[in-house]
């Protein structure tokens, strides 16, 4: 068969999961190419972790198919899917040393000792865990544990990487450092990477494409840039971009919205605004404004001196328009 008929990478077709009467995932279809990093982004309960568990085989879909490099793996037991998964809690074996945490699976599958040792050494070196080789998880720092979990997924050379909020237990600084490291390690290899997060900044920084999920439904899938510039609907517009987008009240079936960074003070006229709170962040400043449409957020250069009250304006081209009922974006 040719590559056209057997698409490489991961393909989800109409994936659905029903628990009782609740549809936790509604007909999700998407494709992740080899080496591509796809972030599943959404608020908690949106179905992103469910999707990951379905791909891993830890839960069964009610309908739909999962294909990996052309093979239908929908009904394959999780032990045969060869996925490398990093859990939110890391799920390291607490009674085993770092080394044994990595080797257990390979040992029990009867791989030759020399090969296991070689693979482990190279991964430990790659992740700079060599000095911790004989420690147990309890003796490691949060960042080290996270790296061991990553190493355990890497060492098996899986066909697919799945990461479930792998950085939510780390502090902000460490997260930023690891984001780059993670991208270098996982993305661009032969495997597709699916990365679940609720942190849009993390998704934007790490992923080639982002799939935004809300209430079990795919809202939009695209590059971080596309999601920011052309959000498919009001939900995506509100979820992507920090601080949150400012929304004007509906007018003749149309809702207009402006991103905080596109607002500017006008010499005269404009939307009257009063400064409630000012957060100075060095290069930029974040303003909470009192306007006739409620509290708005504005971001501008840190050096700009603003009056207590001023008129707000924005370039019409930067304005996003949505249909009032459905929330779909109007072109």
């Amino acid at each position: 068969m040719s590559d056209v008929e057997r698409p490489q990478g991961l393909v989800l077709e109409g994936l659905q999961r029903r628990v009782g009467n609740t549809l936790v995932l509604d007909h999700l279809s998407l494709r992740v190419a080899p080496g591509e990093c796809l972030a599943l982004l959404g608020p908690s309960g949106c179905g992103k972790t469910t999707t990951l568990r379905l791909i891993a085989g830890l839960d069964q879909p009610s309908a739909g198919h999962i294909r990996l490099d052309g093979d239908d793996i929908t009904r394959q037991p999780p032990s045969r899917r060869e996925v490398g998964m990093v859990f939110q809690s890391y799920a390291l074996y607490p009674h085993l040393t770092v080394e044994r945490n990595l080797s257990l699976g390979m040992e029990l599958r009867g791989l030759p000792r020399e090969r296991i040792a070689a693979q482990i050494s190279s991964v430990l070196e790659l992740l700079q865990l060599e000095p911790q080789r004989r420690r147990r998880p309890a003796e490691l720092s949060g960042g080290q544990r996270q790296r061991v979990a990553l190493a355990r997924a890497l060492v098996r050379q899986p066909r697919l990487f799945l990461l479930d909020e792998p950085m939510s237990n780390l502090d902000a600084q460490l997260r930023e450092d690891l984001r780059a490291e993670l991208r270098l390690l996982l993305c661009g290899g032969p495997q597709p990477v699916v990365y679940v997060t609720h942190d849009q900044q993390e998704a934007m920084g790490l992923a080639d494409r982002i799939a935004v999920l809300h209430q079990g439904r795919l809202q939009q899938i695209g590059s971080p840039r596309e999601l920011y510039d052309q959000p498919a609907n009001l939900f995506v517009a509100g979820f992507i971009g920090r601080p949150r987008i400012n929304v004007l009240p509906a007018e003749a079936g149309c809702i207009r919205a402006v991103r905080p960074e596109h607002l500017e003070p006008l010499a005269e006229g404009g939307l009257p605004a009063r400064v409630l709170l000012r957060e100075w962040q060095g290069a930029s400043q974040l303003l909470q404004l009192e306007t006739p449409h409620g509290r708005w957020r504005m971001v501008c250069d840190g050096r700009v001196e603003l009056a207590e009250s001023f008129g707000l304006g924005w370039p019409p081209a930067r304005e996003l328009r949505f249909e009032a009922g459905s929330g779909r974006r109007l072109l």
């Binding site: 891993a56 085989g57 830890l58 999780p78 032990s79 045969r80 899917r81 996925v83 490398g84 998964m85 859990f87 939110q88 809690s89 890391y90 799920a91 390291l92 074996y93 607490p94 009674h95 257990l104 699976g105 029990l108 599958r109 147990r136 998880p137 309890a138 003796e139 490691l140 949060g142 355990r152 098996r156 237990n169």
Partner: protein, 269 residues
């Protein structure tokens, strides 16, 4: 703080005084025990000498009880661990139903079973076999053991097993290499409970075993006789009790660490 220390002291006295009293009694001569004046004389090891030189000597009963206890504990854990693992994997409703049934079985007064057990022993020729005793002991311990171990399995984060599943470990490998080491503390304390039950059990041991050299500790202690029907050999009883408690003390000291040590520490987060 001071009050708490006092309270601990009171509890310690409350639970240890009877033991110390037994120790004291076991080291006194018969006449010193009933004498109204507490004197410094009358200390003796005669009580120990007496029971250890009996026929069969007392250590034989200690050995019998140890053999039965170890066999019962091993058998119970061997059956209870897979049961508990299976129980924990059931859907919530089934699990609640089964746990209820187990609880009912665990609190059932087993004395009511003992006639039926006696019939079984006769029918299958189990009487006067030391190891056969571990069959009813394990059977009676199983419900509680399954409940305790089931709770231990449930306390483990599910991702641990899922992670092992994704690494290609089969059920047995997951149990053996990932879950069992983590429930070791619970297994140790459950095993200790089973051992204690077996060590103290009376009615079944009394009816299943009649040969003198196969008696377990409680029966042997009950059969210690004085020199005449009119004397109660308090000293010998006390000595036997003290000797019978020593192995239990040793067990608790040995297993204290695994019981207390939280092995699951650092599993998640």
């Amino acid at each position: 703080m001071r009050f708490r220390r006092l309270a601990v002291l009171m509890v310690l006295l409350w639970s240890l005084l009877p033991l110390l009293w037994q120790l004291y009694t076991s080291l006194r001569t018969g006449s010193a025990l009933i004498s109204p004046q507490p004197g410094l004389s009358g200390w003796t090891l005669d009580n120990y000498r007496q029971i250890l030189s009996g026929d069969p000597p007392f250590w034989r009963f200690l050995l019998n009880s140890t053999v039965v206890g170890l066999a019962s504990t091993a058998l119970t854990l061997l059956l209870a661990i897979p049961c508990a693992y299976g129980l924990q994997r059931q859907p919530a409703r089934t699990r609640a139903l089964l746990s209820g049934a187990l609880l009912a079985a665990a609190v059932f007064p087993y004395v009511l079973l003992f006639l039926a057990l006696l019939e079984l022993a006769r029918r299958f020729g189990l009487a006067n076999h030391l190891l056969a005793l571990s069959l009813p002991y394990a059977g009676l311990s199983l419900p509680l053991a399954v409940l305790l171990l089931g709770a231990a399995f449930r306390d483990l984060p599910p991702e641990l097993e899922e992670s092992a599943l994704l690494e290609g470990l089969n059920t047995w490998q997951r149990l053996r290499w990932v879950l069992l080491p983590l429930i070791a503390p619970a297994s140790a304390s459950t095993g200790l409970l089973v051992f204690l039950f077996s060590w103290n059990e009376y009615p079944i041991a009394l009816t299943w075993i009649s040969r003198q050299e196969l008696l377990t500790l409680p029966i042997a202690i009950a059969r210690i006789a004085g020199s005449s029907v009119y004397t109660v050999p308090y000293g010998a009883f006390a000595a036997a009790t003290v000797l019978g408690s020593l192995p239990l003390l040793a067990l608790v000291v040995i297993f204290q660490k695994p019981i207390v040590a939280g092995l699951t520490q650092g599993a998640v987060k």
